[in-house]
Symmetry: D2
Subunit: 357 residues, 4 copies
């Protein structure tokens, strides 16, 4: 309760009743919660374990068909601070999606921005605006807002991956539009590389036929081989005494839109981090929330008061302004996504590195 | 409930229990609510009447002191769809603030962006980063994020005005910071024009000492005389057969940041509209929510299914994508603010004029 | 001649002849001139006197008709370093234009950006894309590239003013297009304010019917009353101990495009400066060239090695990187335009204030 | 001579003498040349032959030492329309540079933007701000303004390549600064890839340690293998019926700054074009001038009234607004650079494709 409240009295009670009747609320009783000294979000740090998630997804694969209506066999992380809503953070959705051999997730489009990250496996093609995009281990794949997309599994093995979207943000702010597309994916081709990559995934080059800035990255798939090479190069540069890493023992890349140099989609930032065995990051706080997934290796993570040992496939979430520290037991590779572009575009971003002084 | 759900079975029940235990939620049961075909916000259209608001504010003036702790004698509109929270819309705060003769609202600063709009009265100076800004009828006054500000009433009359902020958005997304300033306003000067206006409120001119773009408008006060003149000019141009008005009989201006030409603050758009007596606007839908206040005149407003006759000082709120129509009984002047810059900066803005076809 | 040249020899002579035959030039003989240590432009500082210019313009008024073909009775400053070309600087054109009672300068349009500045007199309307714009003492008036424009003198007195354009730059870089319009101006109305001003010259306000950024300022006329008020305000703020002036005793404004906050046209910057009697500016060097005109008052100007006493109407030109100092004998008001936006947009701008250290 | 001149008379002669004495030039006698209906640049289309250039460069290698003072053994194309100045176009410099085994071109920096393109050979490293960059056949290498750079040949063979700079533009506009660096290159390492490439030449990825937009591309070298792959992909997409090529049989990429998606440097655009054997481009006109070099293959080029058969290494220049058509005899690969960013940044760009209608 906010300090320095007026003394209780019958008149005050009557005034407060009047407020309630007229759909009014005084600031002076609420300001402490509404306007805290620093962000105090309802969401809580939490970790989900891959070895728990995957069997539940497999079981859903047996019991729940995929098709029109439910649209996707996706199981979302529900932050324990957010009242049971399927929200990893107030702004971000994170789910494990599961597709069995021969299955097809029907095409649709929506204003929510989406991506996939593949922690293991392969055999699914996601078809984005008619362009078939192979999904393979370590790849980061985009489905920007209002792009039609569906998935199908052409292999003899099931495949699971992670979906990231801005569903909670779009829901809260009221900007959701949705349209159904065909029930079967519009292309069943299975090329190694998408047409988008063939046009756009050449370093520093763009097709002369497309020279305007685009609000979303046209690179449909960021392949693991490139991400791995970039991280390897950064650590080699550090070994040689040259700049490049974020901090000692910590290489990282941001996935970007080659038409602007900015984030891949307007609301979502995506990054890949690699820590050398034994490295530890400086404590870092940032306005905005994030979801991390361990790609390979193991280590210890502290988020605010929470601490977990994490391993392959584990996911954890970071509230706004919570302090994060990573310590690598082995070489530790992590995928991260966050809502930071929202704050940067609204000039509300803040970062503090090195902890409370 | 979303269509095409799997048939109930004990295994499915067990699976769903497993989800709940592990803080997981399936998409296929929630997608209908989460990802609607078009925005279906929880907030509802609603109107608050000035003749109800003002007496409650006056009563609060008698019973509730203003000072450190409660900080402001502000009474917020609580949208009936938002569970009692003091939110006019999911993103916007709107409140009546009331200051009695000789009172002082202590200085503080916060990352929330704020403004005042004066529907009647005068006699208060708001002091923004040390610059005293007179508040008078029809004026629109800025307190951008992280600017220190306090108010004091130097007159012998109480004064009421409207505060607009992005408190709900900042609260939801977790980006609030707050600091206390001095308990007494840092300047008790009462100049006609603020220093900010003297530097910046000259049409098309900027001081050579400040040539970089600024994230917020440096114009502390947009005076009624300028707003009124601009609206008058637009209607005169229409009379002479020249372009300028938005649509027949409907003049409007946007308050802008002269260093960029864009909105006054990163999250808030503010506009002033004037309808000739008898004019009616085309139905308009827009992503994002808005708050309107009648400045003078009367007319009829339709927002989605709701319809009200509105008069001086009345406030009403518009949910995302709800259709709005205004019809002027007399010349009708309205102030409007909205969260549209959030959507424009995130490329999620959409507008439809002319209704569902 | 550049240092360290190869020793002369018959073979070298033959090589150099071979170069010449094949339209080739070696860098090693030219680098000293081509790539100097700091800008060493061919243009020279020079001053033109109003009391000389005006009688020549009057005489031209008697002898030279104005009409299609010659298009304008404009007499350009020809920098003594530029080989007789009608260029005030390598990039900028400055001319005195003269129109007698009842005369009409036919409409045309061109990609060159143009403006007028009125050092004295009134009675001419310039018609820009059909909008009649009164020209009065102290006004700064725009004719951006590809806008049709003509002038006519509706008064019983002749009128002279200054034209500024980017003709030399456009000529050198090869980007000139030109079209003839009607021989008589397309509107003979003589309103006090142009339609453009009525829509746009309200501080911090823009018409809701035009919300996109525009490459040129839509304000057709920047009136002296606003410029004068802004300068007066800055000096008053200085008297009161507040920031605002550029340096002690030196107030200045930049004319801006209200849709962007940037310069009025893509290639031309325009400013107005006021020095208190007795004030002296710090030495300033800037990449790019400039033209100044004294509006009122008198003082001493140093540009590089040159020094002049200047008075009402006098014009002087400043080469790139030449050091400029102004000293005011009386209150000294000056209009200035420059090509700085070219360098800023190409990231080639540099400024040094305070002289060579 | 411009039409409709005043009749000759003694008074007119005297007036014109008065103009000349006072360094004034009338517009009405010059407007036809100064403000043409469309660009009519002084520069002329011209082609230089590699089989002529290379022997002259070799001969210069014998006779002219490279070192401090002359700085570079570079031989510039001197456009026949530009009075003997070493300018390929009014804005662009193009030269063949030649370095013999063991030679070293001393380090310096200048505000002129520079690049190298390698039509054949290898064995030189250019050291840019201390980072050694291997130069190999087909590579495009950057030395943006104010970066220190020198070259040294570590091989047993001489090497020739093409330099492109904005020297004429910088000279004309007066924005040149220059500084000497060490006489010997600051690093004699000979890595396969530069540090810049290791950090930046990964498609769609940027190092998290450098997230701000940069005015120049940080990619020091655009390697032929990537350019070739991108062009090959475009033609394959065309074969499969998908979009990507500029026009039938014509693939092309633009070299870009990955931090912005824009051109590699503020004043210079660089592209690579590939025509299938037998393909012919649509006639194209563009504001701004360009230099092309044939990388491999042969064909016919028309530029305005000129027409040449071109082959490996040949260079040709295109004036502003001249119509260009390319016809490929064999598969034809061409490198192109132009000054288009200058016009785009100043909103003076225009393009016409398909010829005069």
């Amino acid at each position: 309760m906010t300090a320095n409240q007026p003394d209780p009295s019958p008149e005050l009670d009557e005034l407060y009743r009047g407020f309630a009747e007229e759909l009014l609320v005084p600031l002076w009783t609420e300001i402490g919660d509404l306007m805290p000294m620093s962000p105090s979000p309802a969401m809580r740090p939490h970790a989900w374990r891959w070895k728990t998630l995957l069997p539940l997804a497999e079981k859903a694969g047996e019991l729940v068909p995929v098709g029109r209506g439910g649209e996707r066999r996706a199981i979302a992380l529900a932050n324990p601070g957010l009242g049971g809503a399927p929200y990893a953070t107030p702004t971000l959705w994170a789910a494990i999606q599961y597709l069995r051999p021969g299955e097809n997730a029907p095409e649709h489009r929506h204003t929510q921005n989406a991506f996939r990250f593949v922690v293991e496996g392969e055999g699914v093609w996601t078809v984005v605006n008619g362009d078939p995009v192979a999904m393979r281990r370590g790849d980061f794949l985009l489905t920007p807002g209002w792009h039609f997309h569906g998935h199908h599994n052409t292999s003899s093995e099931p495949m699971a991956w992670i979906d990231g979207l801005d569903i909670p943000f779009v829901h809260y702010t009221g900007s959701a539009f949705f349209e159904f597309g065909p029930e079967q994916v519009s292309s069943t081709e299975t090329p190694e590389r998408s047409r988008a990559e063939r046009l756009w995934a050449h370093p520093g080059l763009r097709p002369l036929s497309q020279t305007a800035p685009a609000m979303n990255s046209p690179i449909a798939a960021y392949r693991w081989e490139h991400t791995d090479a970039a991280l390897t190069d950064q650590l080699a540069l550090e070994d040689e005494g040259h700049p490049g890493v974020v901090e000692p023992g910590h290489a990282a890349v941001r996935f970007t839109n080659p038409t602007t140099g900015g984030d891949v989609m307007p609301t979502i930032r995506a990054e890949f981090h690699r820590l050398r065995a034994g490295a530890e990051t400086a404590p870092r706080q940032e306005v905005g929330s994030a979801v991390w997934q361990v790609f390979q290796g193991s280590g210890t993570v502290r988020v605010g008061e929470a601490e977990w040992t994490v391993d392959h496939g584990d996911l954890f979430v970071v509230p706004s302004w919570a302090e994060v520290t990573l310590a690598a037991a082995t070489q530790l590779d992590l995928f991260r996504f966050s809502d930071t572009p929202i704050f940067e575009r609204l000039h509300a971003d803040r970062v503090r590195v090195g902890g409370q002084r």
